[in-house]
Symmetry: C2
Subunit: 245 residues, 2 copies
């Protein structure tokens, strides 16, 4: 139960790098993984380029428990994720009979052209991620989970694959509004972080309702007792700051 | 003039990886770079961890013309970007006299504590990125540009640093609404992409006003003639598809 499960995300797509499309998947997956006790450690965004995809995939899959990729599994020439994944794993890739059979139910003979059949190309040995509402399936091969780039489809795929993943001890967190400027609490906060090595204390400045600089302190730990101790420490520190001096 | 200028982005912050904060900087910088003729090739997001920052920074700065980092330059213990950058470049880091002098004008003696002075720590040899409205400066060292994580400040810093960057021949692009499903045009589109190797043709499915599957085709090239040729090709292809058969 005390195993730490880690993950990386690989976002594939020229449209993100050109700024044409604003990515919404990183934030969604990040929050999702936190909620199921998986630590997201790294994200990479690369172009629709086989060498770049293979390199990033290999770096991430050897380093983390899971890798989630998004994008590049559609029917057009710029959708090369499945081929890149097969290449990274050194396995073959072909039209998956189960996917082709489903496509035959859905599409007429004229519609089932080479482009659409491309979405049925799945690396050998991969497990499909599909449902009645998902047209082109995602898949899982080894520790790599290949998801669609369209947010609604990606999210449906996450719901299918998540129950099958190993999950770790969930990271607990508590957010405390400091009502103080970050620069005023940085010193005591550093001492506090040192005194609570089993908790992670993050400091996030923001402008409050009155446009005044304010700070959220976020305390995180897998151990509820250590979380409570650190939160208590933060509250005492803030109380001491606000007391008349 | 024909030099290709490339870039990587390094986003630094536990809050992005935990999903607590949704990144808005990648999309902004991506669009900004496209507009000034710099090709964004890769993005990485890493935790507030010195080893992770140094490793990603070294990978990106040796590969691309420029690296833009965001986050981790505030006054608290989890702000370690400047130190990590100094370490990656193998240079010292100290309180920058010009920044300290500006802080003395802005802060009282009591306010100018160790935490705030931390924001004046700049790697040796770096050039400051600052203005009257920016409290803690960003900096540029070698080909690495270190920006704030708060979007409004990051954006002000981009405006200061951008005019000093080498810029390449701008990537031109034209977006064409296909009024067709991606699966119906994938075949001819692949042939078209092959016939126009100096243009990049991207295909992006979306649901239109009537909730019908539709597709945007985005053609990109640095050469206006080649862009026009490829766009003409796309329009002819779409016209042929829509003609009665």
């Amino acid at each position: 139960m005390s195993e730490i499960i880690t993950a990386g995300i690989l976002v594939i797509g020229d449209e993100i790098l050109s700024g044409r499309t604003k990515d919404a998947n990183i934030g969604f997956i990040a929050e999702y993984l936190t909620n199921i006790g998986i630590d997201l450690r790294e994200v990479r965004v690369v172009a629709d380029d086989e060498a770049a995809i293979v390199e990033a995939l290999d770096a991430l899959r050897h380093r983390y428990t899971y890798v989630f990729s998004t994008g590049g599994i559609g029917p057009t020439h710029d959708d090369i994720t499945a081929d890149a994944v097969a290449k990274a794993f050194g396995v073959g890739i072909d039209h998956h009979p189960e996917v082709v059979a489903r496509f035959r139910e859905r599409f007429s003979e004229a519609e089932l052209n080479e482009a659409r059949l491309r979405m049925a190309r799945i690396p050998d040995g991969a497990e499909l991620i599909q449902s009645a509402t998902i047209l082109a399936p995602g898949f899982k091969i080894g520790n790599v989970i290949v998801l669609a780039g369209v947010p609604s489809i990606m999210q449906a795929m996450m719901d299918i694959v998540a129950p099958k993943l190993k999950s770790g001890v969930r990271m607990l967190s508590e957010s405390i509004r400091a009502n103080a400027r970050e620069g005023d609490i940085g010193g005591p906060l550093r001492a506090l972080a040192k005194a609570h090595p089993d908790a992670i204390i993050g400091s996030y400045p923001f402008l409050d309702e009155d446009k005044k600089p304010n700070t959220y302190l976020v305390v995180r730990s897998r151990d509820p007792d250590k979380l409570r101790d650190a939160v208590e420490g933060v509250k005492q520190m803030l109380g001491a700051l606000q007391a008349p001096q």
